[in-house]
């Protein structure tokens, strides 16, 4: 599912917020230069070869694509308005993702650098806590485990209330 976002030229390239294909960091970065922006920040969340002491073979991501797409669009719009961004874009991959490959990318651009960093962090934190996307780790020993990274409800007592890192920095 695609949504047209005029504030990123990637609109014409590949605008799926959720994609089964490899994330094309290079194509996205090349499209992220804007005459009015002085700062571009690109975050890439990549698959590590280890987690909690275990060797990782690959990850597998699953999403509720329809809900996830709508939520990412809302998060990008909120970020864009809050920090007057020139560019706000995010893409999350689903399916099997190998070590060193990108599972998620966030790109922000703004007049000054403070806004580009802050909004980038805001977007990735909200995606990780709120958007219906899940990770299954496949370990070298043949075992697998579904992640449940958002533990906020244990502290907030409400599955809809989250504790964001971007608020604590």
């Amino acid at each position: 599912m695609s949504i047209s976002l005029s504030f990123h030229q990637a609109a014409e390239v590949n605008m799926d917020f959720i994609t089964k294909k490899e994330i094309d960091l290079v194509a996205l970065l090349q499209k992220s230069h804007c005459p009015s922006a002085g700062a571009v920040v690109l975050f890439s969340g990549e698959v590590r070869n280890h987690n909690i002491g275990k060797s990782v073979r690959y990850l597998e991501y699953e999403a509720h694509t329809n809900m996830a797409t709508k939520m990412i669009a809302e998060i990008l719009l909120a970020a864009r308005n809050r920090w007057s961004l020139s560019i706000a874009f995010a893409q999350h991959r689903i399916g099997k993702v190998k070590v060193t490959e990108s599972a998620v990318v966030v790109i922000t651009a703004s007049v000054h650098r403070g806004e580009a960093y802050a909004s980038n962090r805001y977007i990735i934190d909200r995606i990780k806590h709120e958007v219906p996307i899940w990770k299954c780790e496949h370990f070298a020993d043949g075992t697998k485990e579904w992640g449940g990274n958002c533990n906020c409800a244990k502290d907030t007592g409400d599955v809809n209330k989250h504790l964001y890192e971007f608020e604590s920095v």
Binding site: H92, I124, K128, K135, N160
Partner: protein
């Protein structure tokens, strides 16, 4: 009502199934699923529910014709 589950919940339930029992609210549905499969109790406590792809609260009233999605804690990124 039609129930669709994701991620770790597929370990405990079929990916999608029909539920005929008389269930009036999301809170009752959460309890029902826990009773059907006690092993899923811990994760069900942390799940969000969506009706027609919109998040709903525990108080949401069900008529029986809904498509309900059970959403475990996010672990994207």
């Amino acid at each position: 009502m039609r129930i669709q589950v994701f991620a770790v919940l597929k370990t405990f339930f079929k990916k999608e199934f029909e539920l005929k029992a008389r269930i009036n609210t999301i809170a009752e549905l959460r309890t029902h699923l826990r009773v059907v499969n006690p092993d899923a109790a811990a994760v069900l406590e942390l799940c969000r529910f969506a009706v027609q792809d919109e998040f709903v609260t525990d108080q949401y009233i069900l008529t029986g014709n809904e498509h309900i999605v059970v959403i475990p804690p996010s672990s994207g990124g």
